[in-house]
């Protein structure tokens, strides 16, 4: 039995650890990724404000993968699902009995004219969805001395959909502390009709923008960036001018997903939302951001769905029908600036709830700002490297529990 996992990021590493615990010692597990550099992406949000050093956010993939798993370095070129083989760009062919696609979703500035013109950094056009971009933005913020700061989501869905809002809150707090807030116009530009998708959270987060005198520009779908003139232009020809622009580019799954006929229009793998199994091929699965699940693309979702993936792959290997079902559980800490954060929690059927999580008395306040949530977010980096990736039990249940929550 050979299980092949494509991608050794958050989900691929967790899947390797979970499957290694559950499969027989004789079963082989191979993981493929382009390099040996695992980046803790949530850190890219805080790095521009000086919270982290680069070295705290990067580890060797090999070092965080469990023993008994082979890592192959190479770029996936195509999956031949009919033949159950994967070809890498260097010509290597890998066979599999079960295939787990965990190649995530990536920022694609090439999808927006003018966003990536080679000289964009010099013209104040930035992003923080790559580590390199996040580092360059730290330099730009250090130099910023007031003007028009614009945060724009090019199109949805993007991974960690709350990250652009968090960035905005953190920037507001950062500028205030540096005495630059009065000299800065802050605008949050989104293709959505409000601050966030889920109505309860949108209303709450919208009023947080108001409180901070951050201008909201909704229903703005980015068509192109005119870096020379310092403005972004929407499909219906509205314009927003900037001195410093922070864009979240269009996010898309890996191109090989499309080439292999497994994806939707954003190259996300078409899977059953409850079993995580490909709707086209019985021995192909997708987990993490690579899957087209109707829930947030977030590390927390990869974590909450992992027991479902491991159980179902194990079931199918044993000749049984997949027995586990995913409920779409997602939760996100939302940094709101000034050392505080909120926590929101939802699934396929439930709107973000207010209350505390995971326990009514000692849990963290949901949809309310607190210092405890901020510390929760900082503690998360430690949990990530030491508990989440190696599939060690966390003191939190993965099924969404209604304990301590009440509808807003």
């Amino acid at each position: 039995m050979h299980v092949l996992i494509l991608g050794a990021g958050t989900a691929g590493t967790m899947a390797a650890a979970g499957l290694r615990h559950h499969l027989d010692d004789g079963d082989r597990i191979t993981v493929v990724d382009v390099d040996d550099r695992h980046v803790y992406q949530p850190g890219q949000l805080l790095l521009p404000f000086g919270t982290y050093r680069e070295s705290q956010l990067v580890r060797s993939r090999r070092a965080v993968l469990p023993r008994g798993v082979d890592l192959v370095t190479g770029e996936v070129d195509a999956v031949d699902a009919a033949a159950s083989t994967v070809r890498l760009t260097d010509g290597t062919e890998l066979g599999y009995d079960q295939l787990v696609i965990a190649t995530g979703t990536s920022p694609r500035p090439d999808q927006t004219p003018g966003l990536l013109d080679g000289d964009h950094l010099a013209r104040g056009v930035h992003e923080f969805y790559t580590l390199e971009g996040s580092i360059a933005l730290r330099e730009a913020l250090a130099r910023f001395d007031g003007g028009r700061l614009v945060v724009d989501i090019a199109d949805t869905p993007v991974k960690c959909p709350v990250a652009p809002l968090e960035f905005t809150f953190l920037a507001e707090s950062f500028l205030r502390q540096r005495g630059l807030r009065d000299r800065t116009d802050l605008t949050y530009v989104t293709p959505l009709d409000g601050a966030f998708t889920k109505p309860v959270a949108a209303a709450h987060l919208g009023s947080m923008l108001d409180d901070r005198k951050i201008h909201l520009e909704p229903d703005f779908l980015l068509e192109h960036v005119d870096a020379d003139a310092g403005r972004i232009v929407s499909y219906d020809e509205r314009e927003v001018g900037f001195d410093l622009l922070v864009v979240v580019p269009v996010n898309m799954g890996a191109d090989f997903v499309a080439r292999s006929g497994l994806g939707d229009e954003l190259n996300h793998v078409r899977v059953d939302a409850h079993t995580l199994r490909s709707v086209d091929h019985g021995n192909v699965w997708a987990v993490g951001d690579a899957a087209n699940l109707p829930t947030s693309k977030a590390g927390s979702v990869a974590h909450f769905s992992m027991p479902v993936l491991v159980t179902n792959v194990t079931d199918v290997i044993a000749g049984r029908a997949p027995s586990a079902s995913f409920d779409g559980h997602a939760n996100c800490f939302i940094e709101s600036g000034d050392g505080k954060a909120l926590l929101i929690d939802f699934n396929y059927d439930t709107e973000p709830l207010t209350g505390t999580y995971p326990l009514p008395v000692v849990g963290m306040p949901l949809l309310a700002e607190s210092r405890l949530n901020h510390w929760g977010k900082l503690a998360f980096r430690h949990l990530y490297w030491n508990f989440l990736l190696p599939d060690r039990p966390l003191p939190i249940s993965s099924r969404m529990s209604m304990l301590g929550k009440h509808a807003a």
Partner: protein
């Protein structure tokens, strides 16, 4: 779900007025729904509406503007001309489908 009367017909709608039952819609409702949001339907509008209806049957969800471009072949820019300001929502409304989920 509330029931309302459109073009003399009883249909189920959600709180924002989007039809909730796929089979309660037919093409005769499209111009009436369009008018309600200030749009005069042309053949090109109907091409978009027909694509959305067909795609919904396959996908069980309403196509996004990006999908209408990538799969339906109608450029996003033109969608904004046909259905000003909020094409995603307006197309779905006229086609009697739930509003597209967008990002979650």
């Amino acid at each position: 779900m509330p029931v309302t009367t459109i073009a003399g017909r009883q249909v189920h709608v959600d709180a924002e007025g989007f039809l909730t039952e796929y089979d309660e819609w037919d093409e005769s409702l499209a111009p009436v729904l369009a008018k309600a949001i200030g749009i005069e339907l042309t053949d090109r509008h109907m091409e978009v509406v027909r694509f959305l209806r067909k795609d919904y049957l396959d996908q069980k969800e309403t196509a996004t503007t990006r999908r209408v471009q990538a799969v339906g072949g109608i450029p996003v820019k033109e969608q904004f001309t046909l259905f000003p300001a909020k094409p995603g929502k307006k197309m779905a409304y006229i086609a009697g489908l739930p509003k597209p989920k967008g990002c979650v």
